[in-house]
Amino acid sequence: MAKDTKKAAAKTESKVGQNIAIFWLLILSGLGIVFIPPTMIVIFAGMIPSLVAILLNTERTGGIATMISFNLAGVIPVVGILWERGQTFSEALKILSDVYMWLAMFGGAGLAVFLTWAVPVVVFSAYELQAKANIAKLQKRRAKLIEEWGGQFVADMRDIPKAPQ
């Protein structure tokens, strides 16, 4: 009961944090649309994967943050190019019509998706290997003890009450 209350409290806290972030995001976006509209066009276009991820709401906050980070890491050089060429709508559209620019922006998002999927798999595999190695080690140790102490040892082991796992 107390656990559930704590979880609910944490959820509420997180939602409040999210709302504050969205609030600031909207403020910054509004200011961006007013003062640097070509840049905002590129950013909005480049951040589509992140927006989709937010809309899908997979409840994996870490995953969304990773997606946003990688996505943004891909968008920032494109925005840099836009700013280098002069921040105009035509340059923005030119950039958006360049497939490599899309590749750079969506590539970051793609990498984020890949890493979000691949890293836990790799870590799990490592964990499994480690567990198997430990089990083998323990079994070897047990076999050695049985060899040392004989058949009665196995019977006596069975008689010992098992501790709760």
Binding site: G62, T66, G80, P120, Q139, R141, L145, I146, Q165
Partner: protein
């Protein structure tokens, strides 16, 4: 004999089948028995005198259960007893590696037996002139030395020479005193005792036997041969011995007078050996005839029959103890003793016994028997002690025990054990030894009985019980353990030597510490009490029990037999097999077994114990086993936890993977920002 005593080691090997040599002089030939000298359980065989082959000798080969009358033998060895067969040598003779027997060598009576039933009566003058002088001469020497013969009987008289001119009395040392005497030869005091419980008796018993012997020789038949032992006893008590056996015979007056003097029923009025030697003077005044037991003023009814002889009543009470208990509890016996026997002291004691037995719960048979034992002792204070199925004179319980063991008579052993265990014998002994100086000589020492009482308290323990009493009361009895029986083991070094040979031949199979061996070793050694006590605390077959036995023999070896004992080492191996099996660690077991094998080669039990260090190893093994068990259980639980923890690991991997990707993403964002800034602004 203590452990510290000098070792008396027998020679290592004797060629099988060569016969045995005693003192390097007498060759004992077991295959040539001397028929006319056979009697009892011992065996009489021919013996060759290697120093003087012209002399004829015979040897009596004792069984392990035979009593041996050392004092008479000692006297016979020290000086020749006139009128008695000559004892030339005695000692153990080795017939094979493990066949050792106790042998006594005598001069062979060449003329054979003086009397056989088939030859008929011997003339009066021959009896008086040829038989009586050597018999009385032999008795004179013995009685003056404070000893008795207790084997004066017709078939124990021999002609010393081939010409049959010199009569001698046969030996009396290789059997229990009086054990081979026909019942009629026994006076009233010992007639109702078990043959092996008749005891050394008094010189008067020998004199009585001489009287019966004379009757036997003069009539040519055993006196009272047509009567049962009970009829003879009752007749002797009722009429007196002379009246029963001699009065109706056609005898000369001088013989009648001699017999009256010899067969008087009161030992105090009976002739002594000096009177016997001077019988011609003694019969000048015709001796008074004995008239059996003392008579009470009135009779007492017991089990449908009236009695006025207290001794006869006591005898009948022992035959029907249930009725005897009823008689006691009715109070009639106490009144009869007080009023008719005029014995106030006995009456008071019977009253006390009566009240004690009346207070005992019903069905306690032992209490009733005890009461009858005490009451019969008061009625017949000079007679044998009775208890259940045993009857014996004061100092003869040791011989009786030997007989019980020889016959393996469980009931007899049980009765003797009860006598010691209940304290009844001790109570009677203490009372008689302290109150009656005459009785003191008849009893064995008070301390011996007291010790036996203590041994019986721990009768179930090895080294105690009836077997211990047997060896304490019969100090010359060899060890009767089945392992060494027949090897005349008389001390601990002998025991170790013989047991070693038996164990070697049986490859360690055998028990050198059975009840007999334990009791024998305990009675011959000092300082073993701590081992015996420890043994009693542990169940047979347990590890401590086994180890204590090994330690005990290790000590015995160190003190009494320092040479290697490979047979005992093999026995130790057999004993330690189950102990080794109790060591759970295979590695430790192998190591200890290896150490044992190495130590076994030394044949030294102490080395074996030190090398194997069993006690410490078993303790360490037990401790380590518990630790290993805990470790294995923990490992098992851990393995199970790991095997079932896939989901947990998956969750952890997801969590850790998310963290890694987050770190990577932040790193890549920062890197992108920094590089873009450097590139585009720089």
């Amino acid at each position: 004999m203590s452990l510290a005593e000098k070792m008396d080691m027998p020679p290592e090997s004797v060629p099988a089948g060569s016969g045995g040599m005693l003192e390097g002089r007498f060759r004992i030939d077991l295959s040539r028995p001397v028929d006319f000298l056979q009697g009892g359980v011992n065996m009489a065989v021919q013996a060759a005198d290697m120093q003087d082959p012209s002399q004829e000798r015979f040897a009596v080969v004792s069984t392990p259960y035979s009593s041996y009358r050392r004092q008479i033998a000692q006297l016979m060895m020290e000086s020749r007893i006139p009128g008695m067969i000559d004892l030339l040598a005695r000692g153990t003779v080795r017939f094979s590696e493990t066949d050792v027997r106790y042998v006594s060598v005598f001069d062979l009576p060449r003329g054979g037996r003086l009397f056989t039933d088939s030859e008929g009566a011997i003339a009066e003058n021959l009896v008086l002139d040829y038989v009586l002088p050597p018999v009385s001469a032999a008795l004179l020497t013995l009685h003056r030395a404070g000893l008795t013969h207790r084997a004066i009987r017709a078939d124990n008289l021999f002609f010393a020479d081939a010409e049959r001119s010199q009569v001698i009395v046969g030996e009396a040392i290789t059997t229990a005193p009086g054990s081979l005497q026909p019942d009629v030869y026994e006076p009233q005091e010992s007639a109702s005792a078990h043959p092996y419980g008749r005891g050394d008796g008094t010189p008067a018993d020998d004199i009585y036997a001489v009287g019966i012997l004379m009757l036997h020789l003069l009539t040519g038949r055993l006196p009272g041969a047509d009567m049962s032992a009970d009829e003879i006893y009752r007749g002797k008590l009722g009429q007196g011995t002379f009246a029963l056996l001699a009065e109706d015979l056609d005898l000369s007056s001088r013989i009648s007078d001699v017999l009256a003097g010899l067969l008087h029923d009161d030992p105090k009025r009976r002739w002594n050996v000096e009177t016997l030697i001077n019988w011609r003077d003694a019969i000048k005044e015709s001796p008074r005839r004995g008239r059996g037991d003392r008579r009470a003023f009135s009779k007492i009814l017991f089990d449908g029959e009236e009695y006025n002889s207290p001794r006869l009543l006591a005898h009948e009470m022992t035959k029907r103890p249930k009725s005897a208990v009823e008689l006691l509890q009715s109070g009639r016996l106490e009144k009869w003793v007080r009023n008719s026997l005029r014995d106030e002291d006995a009456s008071k004691e019977i009253s006390h016994i009566q009240s004690s037995s009346a207070g005992a719960p019903r069905g306690q048979k032992r209490n009733g028997t005890t009461a009858v034992t005490q009451a019969t002792r008061l009625l017949d204070p000079d007679g044998p002690l009775w208890y259940r199925n045993v009857s014996f004179t004061r100092g003869a319980i040791g011989n009786l025990m030997l007989q019980a063991y020889q016959l393996d008579d469980t009931e007899m052993k049980k009765s003797i054990a009860e006598l010691f265990e209940s304290g009844l014998l001790l109570t009677m002994a203490v009372s008689e030894i302290r109150e009656n100086k005459e009785k003191r000589a008849e009893w064995m020492s008070e301390s011996a009985i007291s010790n036996c009482f203590d041994y019986m308290k721990r009768s179930r323990d090895l080294g105690y019980g009836l077997e211990r009493c047997l060896y304490e009361l019969n100090p010359v009895t060899p060890c009767l353990s089945p392992l060494v029986l027949g090897s005349h083991v008389k001390n601990v070094p002998d025991f170790l030597t013989i047991a070693e040979k038996k164990l070697v031949s049986a490859n360690g199979q055998g028990n050198p510490f059975d009840r007999h061996a334990a009791a024998f070793i305990a009675s011959k050694s000092k300082g073993l009490d701590k081992y015996l006590k420890t043994l009693s605390y542990h169940a047979p077959g347990s590890v401590p029990h086994t180890l204590v036995q090994l330690k005990l023999f290790a000590k015995l070896q160190a003190v009494a037999h320092p040479a290697p004992l490979p047979g005992f080492a093999a026995w130790a191996e057999e004993m330690l097999k189950p102990v080794f099996a109790k060591i759970r660690s295979r590695l430790r077991r192998e190591v200890i077994s290896q150490r044992f094998k190495e130590a076994k080669k030394s044949g030294n039990l102490e080395t074996i114990l030190t090398a194997t260090d069993i006690e410490r190893q078993i303790a360490a093994d037990s401790r380590e086993y518990e630790n290993a068990l805990a470790t294995a259980t923990q490992a098992d639980q851990m393995a199970a936890f790991l095997a079932n923890g896939t989901e947990h690991r998956r969750a952890a991997a997801n969590h850790y993977g998310a963290w890694i990707t987050s770190v990577l993403s932040v790193t890549s964002l920062i890197t992108s920002m920094v590089l873009s800034a450097l590139y585009f602004m720089g």
